[in-house]
């Protein structure tokens, strides 16, 4: 096996492609000859297993340091721990495409297994669509990005190692999470295509994709959040979201998927928004492919992008084909996509959801245009116009706040219309709380270094980009000054709405059942998991907005200190205690230890920003950020230059208020999505096979966990070191990460 790994890997890719093509053909034919459906399903399972085998072979090549493979040489070395060797699977262009195909194969297998006797009229087209996407990725992987390509000059003694920026715990979990979100959007898209082809555009496919879409949305959210954490602890500029094109590429499908998970409720309940839902699902999938094109083509400059390659051309043609097919089908089925009902009044939930759709799609269009503007300007104006974070922040802030306001309004509005009485009952309490919070913020905010209004200086760069919209841009800048009080007011409104909804639900149940309040609340949630799961997600997003708000009050400073000296910034005093140097198998590490005290002189902790010099990337030292977290703010310290003999260290210090709220909000969001996804009991008797499967799965899960635990020492040898790398941007063409 050792001798034949490259041939075996490429052979498996070829077999996967043939298997996928065969399964696609069978699925397509089975629409007319249903007896072939079973064969198509078997062929799909076979393809899934072959793709899985190819991934396992590549993983084996990594752990056995098979440097005959060019991909293994470029993205690993002998000093790397097991965990990072595994993350190298998706660390580069070729492996990440195989990883994408692998996840898509798993999704396809799971979906087809789940389908079994369900949705038989849709099944052939669902399977065919899924397989067609696998075929595309199979072609790309085999002919344009084969990770099993060998080095013609022979195997080197050691590899070049993984980019230091990727040697971070979040890089082990962020890409798979984001990929799960991206790839997961293929399943709903396949159902939409099947519904369009068959003309079965009622609730059938909407009900079928509900949980698949929610699952993909959850992982899109999680992937984006983990990417934010990685950027925060790794890139060392003090923030977590820089509107980088690759970040935007991951954000775009999240926007349209969010619109869909709301819009679908209207079709389920009122048989409206059929066109919206088909378009939103299709758009979400197309945006995942578009994002992949952006990341892999090299047409945009990004710290996250893969090296420039000609893969973009493949993705561009594929995107064109997908758009043509989808638009053609939508036009063909347009008469069937008309709503069965209409919106009665603007004060209805349906109207709020239309606004929500437009706001989210508008945001997606804005971000997409701004992201591709450098390419557009290059093509039309023959000059590259850069769109910076300030521009995004200025324009996206009002859009984001509009969506935030709609998020609070939606649950309070009734179907068809909201009567004056219902309006009073729903709105009085949340609005009262919001007004009280606004007043308190205005009065007390400055005392806690969180003023309600933060005046913004004109930003020439931003205005130049705005061009013909200078006046609007200036107006937005002034609007930006009052963003803190607007955000805190809306956050209070949203949180009160959620609390009120739980309260009203439990109270209504108690009135009927006379249960104890806690039991009534728990049963209320258990009975309507989707509704209350959604409210919990809203609560999480409100927490995240509070975290985003902290940006308005952030302060930064820098200093050059020798051991024994101190530096003060907004109530924090950092005393430079000592310098120390350490080393492990893969790198040399230089730490600067600072003790941190607050304004009352209490010790808050020790931070140790560092410089890491990896043996495989000596030319690319990384700065390891040290963060002292608290609910109120983060003390974020970056080590810049370091002078050996005196131990003089140049540091950058950022105080980032409320950042922890974002991460807490993400946890709450995951909890809410989990509640909404939790399956309902069917009440059916369970066969012996179910128990057998459950027992085997449990044993396998526990065994796998124990195995991972036993390997933990090898997985993360640097776990005790402070967070992670880097103020150093990698040179152009270095693969960092991408969806």
């Amino acid at each position: 096996m050792w001798q034949s790994i490259p041939e075996l890997g490429t052979g498996l890719l070829l077999a996967s492609l043939v298997g996928a093509g065969y399964a696609f053909a069978l699925a397509a034919i089975s629409a007319a000859r249903p007896h072939l459906l079973g064969a198509a399903r078997r062929a799909t399972y076979g393809t899934v297993a072959l793709v899985g085998t190819a991934v396992i072979v590549l993983a084996y090549a990594f752990v056995s340091h098979d440097f005959r493979l060019s991909y293994v040489t470029r993205y690993s070395d002998r000093s790397m721990s097991f965990g990072y060797l595994m993350s190298s699977l998706w660390g580069g262009q070729d492996g990440s495409l195989l990883w994408w195909m692998f996840l898509l194969a798993i999704y396809s297998g799971a979906c087809i297994y789940w389908l079994r006797g369900r949705y038989l009229a849709l099944q052939p087209y669902v399977i065919a669509t899924l397989l067609s996407v696998i075929v595309f990725f199979g072609l790309i992987t085999l002919f344009a990005a084969d990770p099993f390509t060998t080095i013609l000059t022979g195997a080197p003694v050691d590899g070049r190692g993984l980019n230091p920026l990727l040697q971070n715990i979040y890089m082990i979990i962020h890409p798979p999470a984001l990929y799960l979100g991206f790839v997961g959007c293929t399943i709903p898209f396949s159902f939409a295509i099947a519904a369009l082809i068959t003309g079965r555009l009622g609730n059938e496919w909407i009900v079928a994709v509900r949980k698949w879409m929610l699952f993909a949305w959850l992982f899109l959210s999680l992937g984006n959040a983990l990417g934010m954490i990685w950027a925060y602890v790794e890139l060392g500029w003090g923030g977590y979201w820089g509107w980088d094109p690759v970040e935007n590429a991951a954000f775009l499908p999240w926007l349209t998927a969010t619109a869909y998970v709301h819009s679908t409720m209207i079709q389920e309940r009122r048989r409206m928004f059929k066109l919206w839902n088909v378009v939103l699902i299709s758009l979400t999938f197309l945006l995942t492919i578009f994002g992949t094109f952006l990341t892999r083509s090299g047409v945009i400059a990004s710290v996250h992008a893969f090296a420039k390659s000609d893969l973009g051309t493949y993705f561009l043609y594929y995107l064109g084909l997908l758009i043509a097919v989808t638009v053609g089908l939508i036009i063909w089925r347009f008469p069937k996509l008309r709503s069965d009902d209409h919106i009665e009044t603007t004060s209805s939930r349906e109207a709020a959801f239309v606004l929500n759709n437009w706001a989210l799609v508008g945001a997606a269009v804005f971000v997409a245009v701004a992201t591709t503007f450098p390419i557009i300007s290059e093509a039309i104006l023959k000059e590259t116009v850069t769109v910076g974070p300030e521009f995004y922040n200025r324009w996206m802030t009002p859009v984001g706040l509009t969506i935030f306001a709609l998020m609070g309004l939606g649950p309070l509005l009734g179907w068809r219309k909201t009567s004056a009485r219902a309006f009073r009952r729903g709105f009085v309490f949340p609005i009262s709380v919001a007004v009280v919070v606004a007043i308190l913020h205005a009065i007390l905010g400055a005392r806690f270094n969180m003023p309600a209004i933060v005046l913004r200086e004109p930003d020439p760069g931003g205005d130049v980009v705005v061009g013909g919209f200078l006046a609007v841009g200036a107006a937005l800048r002034y609007l930006g000054s009052i963003v803190p009080i607007i955000t805190s007011t809306l956050a209070a409104f949203n949180i009160t709405v959620v609390v009120q909804e739980f309260w009203r639900g439990a109270a209504a149940r108690r009135a009927r059942t006379h249960e104890n309040p806690a039991v009534a609340l728990a049963r209320c949630v258990a009975k309507s998991r989707r509704r209350y799961g959604g409210y919990i997600v809203h609560f999480g997003i409100a927490m995240m907005f509070i975290g985003f708000l902290g940006q308005a009050w952030g302060v930064s400073g820098q200093a050059s200190l020798v051991p024994g000296q101190s530096y003060q910034l907004q109530g924090y005093t950092l005393r430079y205690e000592r310098f120390r140097a350490e080393a492990d198998a893969s790198k040399e590490m230089q730490f600067a230890d600072f003790s941190v005290t607050d304004q009352d002189g209490r010790l808050r902790g020790v931070v140790s920003p560092a410089k890491f010099i990896y043996r495989s990337h000596r030319e690319q030292p990384t700065s390891e950020v040290a963060v002292l977290n608290s609910v109120r703010d983060d003390l974020y310290v970056v080590l810049g230059n370091f002078t050996g003999p005196t131990g003089r260290a140049a540091i950058q210090v950022h105080i980032n208020p409320l950042v922890s709220w974002i991460w807490f909000g993400v946890l709450v969001l995951i909890l809410g999505a989990g509640v909404a996804l939790w399956p309902a009991s069917t009440g059916k008797p369970v066969g012996v096979m179910r128990y057998l499967k459950l027992a085997t799965s449990l044993v396998a899960a526990v065994g796998f966990s124990l195995l991972l635990a036993s390997l933990s020492g090898r997985i993360l040898p640097n776990a005790t070191a402070p967070a992670s790398p880097s103020t150093t941007s990698p040179p152009a063409g270095m693969d960092v990460h991408a969806p």
Binding site: R41, Y60, A121, W415, G505, R512, S528
Partner: protein, 195 residues
């Protein structure tokens, strides 16, 4: 492209074996899981690379076996299951009608809930409830169509109505659930009580 569906969501009905039936061939489904277990054992005893080889080998065999079964099904060398049931042991998958029914009952429940907390007024409640009930009746009728018990029940009702001299056009259609029954099912009375 296929012919247009005659009705928008007319369901195909799978044949559903009894949920408790045990089919020994289903043990084959456990092979990947057993492979995973074997790879864990191999990893612990011989190291992770060996575990990878074991799981890779299991996957390869699973792939080849499934493709072989697929070819046999295409060639007709292996008896396929009835066309509507696809290939595998799908005894526990709820049918489209069951899912629709469950969804509509939940929707009715939600409607009651929204009324009980005062989010919708009586007129909207009535209109929406009628819409849902109409759809629920269609789903229930679809689910029960062809059910001998239902036909027997219909026959009894028809006979009874004829005996009572109450036959009319409405008796030719499937008997809908009575208002009070539906209200009981969806908790409507409970909702009203909290107003």
């Amino acid at each position: 492209m296929p012919p247009e569906a005659s009705t928008e969501n007319a369901p195909l009905r799978p044949v559903e074996p009894q949920a408790g039936d045990f089919d020994p061939t289903r043990l084959l489904e456990a092979i990947p899981l057993l492979g995973l277990l074997a790879s864990i054992v191999a990893s612990v005893v011989y190291g992770f690379p060996t575990g990878l080889i074991v799981i890779g080998g299991t996957l390869l065999l699973t792939g080849i076996w499934n493709l072989w079964v697929s070819l046999q099904l295409v060639a007709g060398d292996r008896p396929g299951q009835p066309e509507a049931t696809a290939s595998e042991s799908e005894t526990d998958a709820p049918s489209y009608e069951e899912e629709q029914k469950a969804f509509l009952l939940r929707a009715l429940d939600d409607l009651e809930f929204e009324r009980s907390v005062g989010k919708i007024d009586d007129e909207d409640y009535r209109v929406l409830r009628e819409q849902y009930r109409k759809r629920a009746k269609q789903a229930l009728a679809g689910e029960d169509a062809g059910d001998p018990l239902r036909q027997e029940a219909e026959s009894i009702v028809r006979t009874y109505l004829e005996e009572q001299g109450l036959t009319g056009p409405s008796t030719t259609s499937p008997p809908p659930a009575s208002e009070s029954d539906a209200d009981e099912d969806t908790g409507a009375d409970e909702g009203r009580g909290s107003q």
